[in-house]
């Protein structure tokens, strides 16, 4: 887990390749927010459970749909028959937060993104309430991931 302290609630970044999210980190930091990283599904579930139990607070969760399910340190301890597809790990996390734990959009806004056009993932995410889905296509402006993040963080600043 990678953390950056700030007086405001940090952003929870859930992606196995944080290097590819550093551009977003720079914008988050530029707006005066910190961030916490979870780099696999198992670790992210711990964070989300902590939110549900009131132990942790985040102003936004940004989740990659296709993500590692385990860390390299722990994967060897898990029987491979329990492995789930890493293609929908982000979808499972959204379902876990919204449906299984009942974390509301007011408690935790969630933005998921995919780096490719994946209709199946889009439909799965569409079935989960209060989750915004973005294609990470490099575009900026209204409707893009970075625009959405900026909006949420601005609202959070005004709270």
């Amino acid at each position: 887990m990678m953390t950056h302290k700030s007086r405001r609630d940090p952003v929870l970044l859930i992606d196995d390749d944080i290097d590819d999210l550093m551009w977003l980190v720079e914008r988050i930091e530029a707006m005066g927010f910190g961030f916490v990283c979870a780099t696999n599904e198992a670790e992210a579930r711990d964070r989300i459970l902590a939110i549900s139990e009131g132990r942790e607070r985040y102003c936004l969760a940004v989740i990659d749909v296709m993500m590692a399910t385990h860390s390299i340190e722990h994967v060897g301890m898990v029987d491979e028959k329990f492995f789930k597809s890493s293609k929908e790990s982000g979808v499972r996390l959204c379902h876990y937060a919204r449906v299984e734990l009942g974390i509301s959009a007011a408690e935790l806004p969630i933005a998921v993104y995919t780096a490719r056009v994946d209709e199946q993932a889009r439909q799965q995410i569409g079935a989960i309430p209060d989750v915004r889905h973005f294609f990470r296509d490099g575009a900026e402006g209204e409707g893009s991931l970075d625009h959405h993040v900026a909006e949420v963080l601005q609202r959070s600043s005004g709270d």
């Binding site: 290097d19 551009w23 590692a68 994967v75 060897g76 780096a115 994946d118």
Partner: protein
């Protein structure tokens, strides 16, 4: 004292001083010289054969009229290849041999004769009337023996089980003379001609005019026998039943004048022709559905080959009939191995094999594959007489299976093939999606990072690190595209450049290009350039060899534990350059060690921690190395509960001077 008639090398009891002999109607004994203690006893009209099945004796009796009453493998005195040893000249037709009487001693068991000893020859002379009066059963004996012989020579599958019309007719000295009346009929003979009895009938009237005469003339012109000849059985004055007839001229010079007969065997071939036509239709149908059929003998000659068999093998029927099918195999011993396999297989089932054969062409031979269903052919006694098989060409299917990397020894089912095709298609789709993701994610990050620079959002103290990221990720994207390019070159067998490539410098440059990937897990790469310099230069394509180390180091970075070191070392072993890439990472189970080089293969653990992999990297490494005559192997030695020291070892060939 007993007298025996030497009949074609067999001894028949002729006269005896033993009052017990023939008392109950026994009126004939046949002894097979050279077969040990054996004999035929005609007792009350029922032929019994005694034979010795063991050296210690112990007679057993079987009624020859019972199906299968003869011992399996017993010698058949009438068979062309088993003339009785010690008998008359086997090269001469039997009806030309001289008959003689011999004195001998009969060993009697009760009222039956169990054996006979040969004695000195006596030339007997009986009148025709005496023959009729004293030896009526002789004709029965002859008829049956000769009919069985004729049936056997005619290819009947059950020569000891004659069910055809057999009769004896008095010999007419000339074909122009009327045929003498029928004097003996085998049971069932009359039935074939829809009569109560044939006795007294003229043999000619049983066939269309002239047919029997032609058969007889042919026998006279030949060696005493003729046939089988196609004709019909006359019923009600019309040809009704298709027959094959064989005739044999019999002469017994022991009588004065010589006792002469025509032995005629008439076989109803209605069913056989029907079966033959059905079989021919079936074979023609098999040809239309591209299934070839052959039937060969144990020596490999092919008496029957379907049109498709000829077409597929490139040989004519005549050639197949004369040659051994062993030459159809690339390895001539393969046929014998197949036959050995058939012997050990279930008799009732066809043995299925995919076999590589050779087709004769104008320019030599070309290989082709068939899927064959084979079985041993056995005769009624269970003896192997040949091999028959159905097969279809499977060259395209095998080529397709090989293209799809099927390891199965035979042909896989359509369902298996479809599953593999679908899996490959899914794999390709996954590959494209993964590739798309792997390219899109860093490219999006790159442009977003560059915009951050543009907007001056990047703090000065992290700017060098971010520029390194931009440059490094750009190289990663280029390398991915290069992988695609190399994939295309490999698949199209494009020739590679052959220049001297400095090994140490190549590896160090790759390390520098991938440096930005080390930061996240705080990894380090140590390149032992001195040891690599021992190997010096490699001969090959510099871009391809660079890509080998890009893929290997990228793989090591992805699957290394944080805060570990990846080491690249070299040494020379027996003139070969050996390079090792070692990392502390995910343990690779023994069952996965070889498969990590398979196209698209990823261990479940690898997929769990790096979801975007394509499974192409290591496969390409092996392919690219193979183009340089180099080999790669993987070892994974557990160094902890869940971590291992993984060693990828490349062996380059010795450099030619």
């Amino acid at each position: 004292m007993s007298l025996f008639l030497d009949d074609h090398g067999l001894l028949r009891l002729s006269a005896t001083t033993d009052a017990q002999m023939g008392r109950d109607g026994s009126n004939g004994v046949v002894y097979f010289p050279g077969e040990g203690i054996t004999g035929w006893v005609y007792q009350a009209g029922t032929p019994k054969r005694f034979f010795d099945e063991s050296a210690a004796g112990g007679f057993r009796r079987r009624d020859l009229r019972q199906p299968g009453g003869e011992a399996p493998g017993a010698r058949r005195p009438w068979a062309a290849d088993s003339a009785p040893p010690g008998g008359a000249d086997a090269s001469r037709p039997r009806n030309e041999r001289r008959h003689s009487l011999r004195s001998g001693v009969a060993a009697r068991a009760g009222s039956s004769v169990s054996s006979a000893c040969r004695g000195s020859a006596i030339q007997p002379h009986f009148t025709q009337g005496e023959e009729d009066a004293r030896w009526p059963s002789m004709r029965t004996c002859w008829a049956r023996n000769f009919a069985e012989e004729m049936a056997a020579n005619g290819g009947a599958e059950h020569p000891g089980d004659v069910r055809d019309a057999v009769y004896l007719a008095r010999f007419a000295a000339s074909p122009t003379e009327p045929v003498s009346p029928i004097v003996y009929e085998h049971e069932g003979a009359a039935q074939l001609y829809d009569r109560d009895s044939l006795i007294g009938a003229g043999a000619e009237e049983l066939y269309p005019p002239g047919d029997l005469r032609r058969a007889m003339q042919s026998a006279i012109d030949g060696r005493g026998t003729s046939g089988p000849m196609d004709t019909f059985a006359m019923r009600g004055g019309h040809p009704r039943v298709p027959l094959e007839i064989s005739v044999r001229r019999l002469e017994n010079p022991s009588f004065t004048p010589p006792s002469s007969y025509w032995l005629v065997l008439a076989r109803d071939v209605t069913e056989r022709r029907k079966r033959s036509e059905e079989a021919e239709r079936t074979r023609a149908f098999l040809d239309t559905v591209n299934i070839a059929y052959f039937r060969s003998d144990l020596a490999g000659r092919t008496p029957y080959a379907s049109d498709l068999d000829c077409k597929l093998t490139g040989y004519s029927r005549e050639e197949l009939a004369a040659m051994s099918r062993a030459v159809l195999y690339e390895d001539a011993a393969e046929r014998e191995r197949l036959i050995a396999g058939l012997r050990s297989a279930d008799r009732e089932r066809l043995l299925r094999r995919v076999v590589r054969l050779r087709r004769k062409t104008e320019h030599g031979h070309e290989p082709f594959y068939v899927e064959a269903d084979l079985r041993l052919v056995r005769d009624a006694r269970g003896l192997e007489i040949g091999v028959e098989g159905f097969y279809r060409e499977a060259t395209e299917r095998i080529t397709l299976q090989k293209f799809l990397d099927f390891d199965a020894p035979g042909l896989v089912t359509d369902a298996e093939l479809f599953d593999k095709l679908r899996a490959d298609a899914d794999q390709q789709k996954d590959y494209l999606l993964s590739l798309g993701h792997q390219l899109a994610a860093p490219l999006v990050a790159l442009i977003a990072t560059l915009r951050n620079f543009e907007k001056r959002m990047v703090r000065a103290e992290v700017a060098p690190e971010r520029w390194a990221y931009v440059i490094g990720q750009t190289r990663v994207c280029i390398d991915m595209v290069k992988n695609l390019s190399f994939l295309g070159r490999i698949l199209q067998d494009e020739p590679l450049a052959k220049v001297d490539v400095p090994l140490a410098r190549t590896v160090i440059r790759v390390k520098l290009d991938l440096r930005h990937l080390l930061r996240g897990k705080r990894l380090s790469i140590v390149v032992d350039d001195e040891s690599l310099d021992e190997i010096g230069q490699l001969r090959g394509d510099p871009d391809v060899l660079r890509q080998v180390f890009v893929n290997l180091l990228d793989n090591a970075i992805k699957y290394s534990h944080p805060e570990t070191t990846i080491r690249v070392t070299g040494k020379v072993v027996a003139g070969c350059g050996v390079v090792e890439v070692v990392n502390e990472g995910l343990a690779i189970q023994p069952s996965h060690l070889e498969r990590v080089f398979d196209r698209g293969y990823r261990t479940p653990q690898a997929a769990a921690i790096v979801p975007h992999g394509t499974g192409l990297g290591l496969w390409l490494v092996r392919k690219m190395l193979a183009l340089h005559s180099a080999e790669i192997e993987c070892q994974s030695d557990l160094s902890g509960a869940t971590r291992a020291r993984n060693r990828f070892r490349i062996s380059f060939p010795p450099r030619s001077p």
